[in-house]
């Protein structure tokens, strides 16, 4: 049996190496000739086109904003599906938590984490960061709540329905901004051409729709990831177990 197993591993190794070799021999590293194609346009045109200081944010939320809608929807889909599959009523929420000291420490930390997350979201068009990252940081707060205070506390503070509402509103906000662009600018997700203020580069109010879309994505991702964790952690606290397992 053991020999058989090792043979299997050898086969797997051989397959991986062969596949890797094929992929490797397809890699082309052309001598650097300067940036061409859309990349050049993105680098040179961001400031002129959108007024955003962060090129990545401009690509994500303006040039290829439609992709971002799709990517955010992937998370939305996942969250919805996990909640669908784990929608079992028989799991009760846990009110177990960790020790008092940890709880206090966490309580002191939470405002700062929230502030950090909001700054990442709101300043997405000026500095690295944006809706995805800020939303994820936001979601870690609820994860910490679940771990440290128990999920019943978490559910009491931010009920699942509120999260649901935030998530859907974020997604709707994104779509609505796109539709405004369609009505006024002739194409879905039109930014400055649809009359959104371009603002002064480097200022908080700049980049037209980009900050708004960042906020929308932040709502969507933050509430979504937190629902995801909450749905799964409900399973964890199955009533058949006497005490919550140490995580």
């Amino acid at each position: 049996m053991r020999v058989h197993r090792n043979l299997q591993r050898l086969g797997a190794l051989g397959l991986s190496l062969a596949l890797g070799w094929w992929l490797w021999q397809g890699v082309t590293i052309s001598p650097f000739q300067g940036i061409t194609g859309p990349a050049a346009r993105y680098i040179h045109g961001t400031a002129r086109d959108t007024g955003a200081a962060n090129v990545v944010a401009a690509i994500l939320f303006d040039y290829r904003g439609f992709d971002t809608l799709g990517e955010a929807s992937v998370i939305y889909t996942t969250v919805c599906g996990v909640a669908l599959l784990f929608a079992k009523r028989r799991y009760r929420r846990s009110s177990h938590g960790l020790s008092f000291i940890v709880k206090r420490g966490m309580a002191l930390l939470v405002p700062f984490i929230l502030l950090y997350a909001s700054s990442i979201i709101v300043m997405g068009h000026l500095s690295p960061g944006g809706g995805f990252q800020g939303g994820a940081v936001m979601a870690t707060v609820t994860v910490l709540f679940c771990v440290i205070y128990g999920s019943s506390f978490e559910a009491a503070r931010v009920s699942p329905k509120v999260k649901e509402t935030i998530e859907s509103s974020g997604a709707l906000l994104f779509t609505a901004i796109g539709l405004i662009g369609l009505v006024t600018g002739g194409a879905f997700l039109t930014n400055s051409a649809a009359g959104f203020p371009r603002g002064m580069m480097g200022h908080l109010v700049s980049g037209g729709t980009i900050p708004l879309l960042n906020i929308a994505v932040g709502m969507k991702v933050g509430a979504g990831l937190s629902t995801l964790f909450y749905s799964m952690v409900k399973i964890l606290e199955d009533p058949t177990e006497s005490s919550p397992p140490e995580v």
């Binding site: 094929w22 992929l23 021999q25 397809g26 890699v27 082309t28 061409t36 194609g37 859309p38 990349a39 346009r41 993105y42 303006d62 040039y63 290829r64 904003g65 439609f66 992709d67 809608l69 799709g70 990517e71 929807s73 992937v74 939305y76 889909t77 996942t78 919805c80 599906g81 996990v82 909640a83 669908l84 599959l85 784990f86 929608a87 079992k88 329905k161 649901e164 509402t165 998530e167 859907s168 509103s169 997604a171 709707l172 779509t175 796109g178 539709l179 662009g181 369609l182 600018g185 002739g186 194409a187 879905f188 997700l189 039109t190 930014n191 051409a193 649809a194």
Partner: protein, 485 residues
């Protein structure tokens, strides 16, 4: 009508249904139906609007994301909206509106399907494929009562992720070699890439789409997923989801891989033939009626892949025509067999005795659909197979053509088994008698669709439309010119 609305309408549905649930729980059902009608109508209006190109954000196609409507897009938009509407109605009857999250997933997959069909951007295609696949894994695993469904969903998840990975690698290589993502521009510049890179790009994309569409050897998830899922979901998977991946294969094959490069089409012919034979032979051995239908879907996927591999306008016409036929017939088969299996509380063919007396109309519809899929002469399945045979003959692909013909005989053989069981004697009365008015109506409409499709080669506009799909799709230069104009 702006093409993007066909994507946005189902998205809006998916984003608002949770709000309805939170604030007005009673309106969820109405909202689902209204949004279903809205999405279907939007897609049909976009399809009826004729050729159009629009770029998100008002940029040039090179910088932004382009949506393109041409005849191939039109055909598949119609296919998707028909399939999704039918499945939605059946699901509303089967599940009710309690599991509202299911409908959210349903609309998300609808939006993603329309996105895949409409998009003219390679990375955007991948993004929509992701939404589509994730939604598909989850609806397969719904409801989490049965472990078979969960396991099938898991298998699908693993395979789908591997497929997505290959798609992503292919797209990344294409971007690395050219710096472009727009399909029209890529069609122009990709042939200038080094040969080795090109082969990796094409190989990865083809293999990724093989998994997504269920072509051998990426088919292992398909029988489990299609047979373990709930009836409306199975119908949707076989009727639409598989076709969407085949749409992507058609589009990329003729646009990016270049009709000049014969190797790709040889690969398609080879794997299509293998898929066809394996699907038929495995279907022949099944005892479970839904598994039989699932393997038959594998075989039909093989048929369509062969049609694509013919690399001619006739082949594409046959592929699209066959996709429509298979959608109509296989959705009907899944719906009918779901109802009958529920009556018998078993999916075992041997247990299906006496159902003709129990539900004569459903069984007769089953016979019609089965005859259509098997390719019994005057029906639509025969028509599309004939188109395919002629295309294969023109290409000189004798073995695939022979396989298609042999498959007809085999599929007649294995579809006769459930049919004779239905007409045969029953040991016990069927234990369940739940009426299925909506499913019955959908089955009737699908049967009607089968008959209309059988007449399609004789109806001038339909025939012209089908031929135009083939002509326009093969002509990559026309597509490029329209997008970059």
């Amino acid at each position: 009508m702006n093409p993007v609305l066909a994507i946005v309408a189902p998205f809006l549905a998916a984003f608002t249904i949770p709000l309805f649930f939170v604030f007005r729980k009673k309106w969820v059902g109405t909202a689902v139906i209204l949004f279903g009608v809205l999405s279907a109508l939007t897609a049909l209006f976009v399809a009826a609007g004729g050729e159009a190109v629009t770029v998100m954000g008002g940029w040039q196609p090179e910088v932004g994301i382009a949506l393109v409507v041409d005849s191939l897009t039109t055909a598949f938009l119609i296919l998707a909206s028909l399939g999704f509407s039918a499945s939605l109605s059946a699901a509303a009857e089967t599940f009710g509106y309690g599991p509202w999250r299911f409908y959210v997933l349903f609309f998300l997959s609808w939006a993603a399907t329309n996105g895949i069909i409409l998009t003219g951007d390679l990375f955007n295609l991948f993004v929509f494929f992701e939404i589509f696949s994730v939604a598909a894994y989850l609806v397969v695993a719904y409801p989490p009562r049965s472990w078979q469904a969960i396991e099938a969903g898991f298998k699908y998840l693993i395979f789908g992720t591997v497929g997505a990975l290959f798609l992503l690698i292919g797209i990344a290589y294409a971007f690395m070699a050219t710096g472009q993502l727009n399909m029209a521009i890529l069609a122009r510049v990709l042939p200038r890439a080094p040969e080795a890179t090109l082969s990796v790009v094409i190989g990865c994309l083809v293999v990724g789409l093989f998994i997504k569409s269920g072509t051998v050897p990426g088919h292992f998830w398909l029988p489990d997923a299609h047979s373990s899922a709930q009836t409306p979901v199975s119908a949707l998977l076989s009727g639409v989801f598989v076709k969407v991946s085949l749409y992507a294969l058609i589009r990329l094959a003729f646009l990016l891989f270049g009709s000049a490069d014969d190797r790709v089409f040889f690969v398609l012919l080879l794997f299509g033939t293998v898929t066809l034979c394996l699907g038929h032979l495995m279907a022949f051995q099944q005892e479970d009626i839904k598994r039989l239908l699932a393997y038959s879907t594998v075989a039909q996927v093989g048929t369509i892949v062969i049609a694509i591999g013919c690399a001619s306008s006739g082949g594409v016409t046959a592929a699209v025509y066959h996709a429509f036929n298979h959608m109509a017939a296989k959705m009907g088969l899944f719906l009918v067999s779901g109802v009958l299996a529920e009556d018998r509380a078993s999916r075992d063919i041997a247990q299906m005795g006496g159902l003709f007396r129990h539900r004569p109309l459903f069984v007769l519809a089953f016979c019609l659909f089965a005859a259509s899929i098997a390719g019994i002469p005057p029906l639509n399945g025969f028509m599309s197979k004939w188109f395919l045979l002629v295309a294969a003959a023109e290409r000189g692909a004798l073995i695939p053509a022979a396989a298609v013909v042999a498959g007809t005989v085999l599929s007649a053989a294995y579809y006769l088994r459930p049919i004779t069981a239905f007409f045969g004697p029953a040991e016990t009365e069927p234990p369940h008698h739940r009426p299925h008015p909506v499913t019955g109506a959908i089955v009737a409409l699908l049967a009607l669709l089968c008959l209309v499709l059988a007449l399609a080669p004789y109806i001038g506009p339909l025939k012209e439309g089908l031929l135009a799909v083939g002509r326009d799709t093969v002509n990559g230069a026309r597509y490029i010119e329209r997008v970059l104009r």
